[in-house]
């Protein structure tokens, strides 16, 4: 693909709101995960909760989009100068010519859970009047909210491919720009805490009772987090400017909720993102690294198969938890911070590296020039996506 400039970006996770708090937390090795129950959850586990969503108000006519997921979007859009950057792009390209591509796995399902709870408590058959499907639960809600919030009037799409959703937005945006359907794009991802994912992953025995420990010999599963992030993509980056340089996608065609164990098809996605760039040119790989036994083993087979043990890599889920449909954009932001600050985070919470893991997992943070970063995101349904970030040529 042709390189796309990333002219603005922002991120919110359990670590904090905005880019500055993320690089600070990465350097200080300060996790955002806490051992607490989400609302009335009965599950004992660690979660990555974003503080302050209770007090976020959606502006004006957008109040009908009110739900935890869209509040997280609103909070995130309003920071790091993102609204101003999109405003400038809107003036430059026109509101119709900036596409919106937002990843989510569960959208406003927390809102639906609350509606069902009220229905059960009240012993009624129907859902309460306050429940608006289109603006909250519908997968598209987050993309429509973002489009309207940013004053854009053209192409908008919610990409929902489980935990690869907000990595795949980079691919969809790049193709739409290349096809001429838009001149620039807002990409992003938002997923928020809910009982569906906590109890769902728990039903699959994938939630750790301890804090998640990616690549650890004694890893027991993931910690679920919530997050939002956005980036503004434009054509023809200036030489040296931060850019998205490639995206690779593939399908495992193996199992609905288990990765292909040999990692051979995930490797195809990584190679697709690299394009002509030799693997040894990659400075750092941000792993999907969910800390489930199956993911970390399959991903290691994929990474070590392509890179051997030459390229430093780590999962940053130890800070944010697995933010599911937002993981791709959160880790895109971390990749861009790594490049800007010359900093490679270690695999947080990893005490004893799994001896079966062959890739060069960072057990200590490293400060060095970071030229190219590859970010991996994989999801249920066997969907794989890798995105390459670096300075534009």
């Amino acid at each position: 693909m042709k390189p796309l400039a990333i002219t603005s970006y922002t991120v919110t996770s359990a670590v904090g709101a905005g880019r500055a708090l993320h690089i600070d937390a990465l350097r200080a090795e300060r996790t955002g995960l806490t051992e607490q129950r989400f609302e009335d959850s009965t599950l004992a586990c660690w979660i990555g909760a974003v503080a302050g969503l209770e007090s976020v108000a959606l502006p004006g006519a957008l109040a009908r989009f009110d739900c935890r997921n869209n509040r997280l979007a609103e909070k995130t859009l309003a920071q790091d100068g993102f609204l101003d950057a999109v405003g400038a792009a809107r003036a430059k390209y026109g509101a119709r010519r900036i596409g919106v591509f937002i990843g989510t796995s569960t959208s406003g399902v927390r809102h639906t859970e609350l509606a069902y709870r009220e229905r059960t408590t009240a012993s009624r058959e129907d859902l309460p009047d306050w429940f608006d499907y289109r603006t909250t639960q519908c997968t598209y809600s987050i993309a429509e909210f973002t489009r309207q919030r940013l004053g854009l009037t053209g192409l908008a799409s919610a990409i929902s491919a489980a935990c690869a959703s907000s990595a795949k937005v980079f691919a969809s945006a790049a193709r739409a720009i290349e096809a001429g359907f838009c001149d620039a794009a807002v990409v992003g991802g938002v997923d928020s805490l809910c009982l569906t994912t906590l109890y769902g992953f728990n039903a699959l025995q994938l939630v750790s009772s301890e804090i998640c420990r990616p690549a650890d010999a004694n890893r027991h599963g993931l910690s679920i987090g919530e997050a939002g992030g956005f980036a503004l993509l434009e054509r023809v980056p200036a030489s040296g400017a931060p850019a998205c340089l490639g995206v690779g996608e593939s399908s495992d065609a193996h199992h609905m909720s288990q990765p292909r164990p040999d990692g051979s098809i995930a490797r195809v996605a990584m190679a697709g993102a690299l394009g002509d760039l030799p693997p040894e040119r990659i400075s750092y790989i941000n792993l999907h690294g969910t800390a489930t036994p199956a993911n970390d083993a399959a991903e290691d087979a994929a990474v070590s198969g392509l890179f051997g043990a030459r390229v430093p890599c780590s999962s940053t889920k130890g800070w944010t938890g697995h933010t599911l449909g937002a993981a791709g954009i959160v880790e895109a932001a971390i990749a861009l911070l790594a490049i800007e600050h010359g900093f490679m985070p270690r695999s947080l919470n990893t005490r004893e590296l799994d001896p079966k893991i062959q890739a060069a997992v960072l057990l200590e943070a490293r400060s060095a020039k970071v030229e190219y970063v590859l970010s991996n995101s994989f999801g249920f349904g066997g969907t794989n996506c890798s995105v390459l970030f670096g300075a534009a040529p």
């Binding site: 399902v109 069902y116 059960t120 429509e144 009037t153 739409a176 096809a179 569906t196 609905m256």
Partner: protein, 261 residues
């Protein structure tokens, strides 16, 4: 503007049971009769996955298998786009109802079927395709936005299968998302005509007002399911009649389509 060839078409809706069976209805040579769909077991799915596949996955497969059979191509080589406003509302209902009970017990199969990309995951397993697949929602514009994604994805190296589908929700969700019927449609797109192509389409963002169906019976169906927003295009395809139409997009945009047989 992008141009590509239509190499296969599929449809599965009440009274529109497959592309070939629907041709006369779509070109106005036979009346539309709203016959309920018969149960469908996806031919391509292995037994384990067939057992677990939900109603919306079956709806998607019914249209996808029809289009791929018609195209004469190898399903295993196609990239794919799955467009659905709502994915699986029956699964959503079961999960949210279970979470409102004590104790909260949700089925692991329901959970993995709850992802919006369930149909695309089952499809890649069924046809053993490792090609990229993407899954999106744009509410009532899901077919249209899916078509833009599919057209942008087509290149000389790969043909693309687009599947748009939505299944009717159970109550109480149906009252909040009142689709009149379940439906799926599919098209196979490529840059080369091949032997079976039905013609080519040129597509771009526009702002003409939305085109309605020629046939009033089909017009009544068009707004009954997001997938059936395609019907004005299918009328042209079935009649092999050149024409320009406009499909409602997102925001204030429309998608302008020009069909040449």
């Amino acid at each position: 503007m992008s141009v590509c060839f239509i190499k296969g078409v599929g449809i599965a809706a009440p009274g529109l049971a497959g592309w070939n069976a629907s041709l006369d209805i779509l070109r106005g040579a036979a009346p539309y009769v709203a016959i309920a769909e018969t149960p469908y077991a996806p031919a391509l799915l292995p037994p384990n996955e067939r057992r677990r596949a939900t109603a919306s996955v079956r709806q998607a497969f019914r249209a996808a298998e029809d289009a791929v059979n018609g195209s004469g191509g190898d399903a295993g080589t196609l990239a794919s786009v799955f467009a659905s406003s709502d994915a699986d509302m029956a699964v959503l209902h079961r999960i949210c109802a279970a979470l409102a009970q004590t104790p909260r017990v949700i089925s692991p199969t329901d959970f993995h079927n709850s992802v919006h990309n369930a149909a695309s995951g089952y499809w890649s397993i069924a046809v053993q395709s490792v090609a990229l697949t993407t899954t999106l929602s744009a509410f009532d514009a899901s077919f249209t936005i899916g078509l833009l994604e599919a057209v942008a994805l087509v290149d000389a190296q790969r043909d693309v299968l687009l599947v748009a589908y939505d299944a009717v929700a159970p109550q109480p969700l149906l009252a909040k998302r009142p689709l009149a019927l379940s439906a799926g449609v599919a098209v196979v797109l490529g840059t080369q005509a091949g032997t079976a192509a039905l013609g080519r389409i040129a597509i771009d963002i526009g702002d003409a007002s939305e085109t309605t169906c020629v046939n009033p019976e089909l017009e009544a169906l068009r707004e009954s399911n997001p997938a059936l927003r395609v019907l004005p295009l299918f009328e042209l395809l079935a009649a092999k009649r050149a024409g320009a139409i406009s499909l409602r997009g997102t925001g204030d945009s429309c998608v302008a389509l020009t069909y040449t047989p």
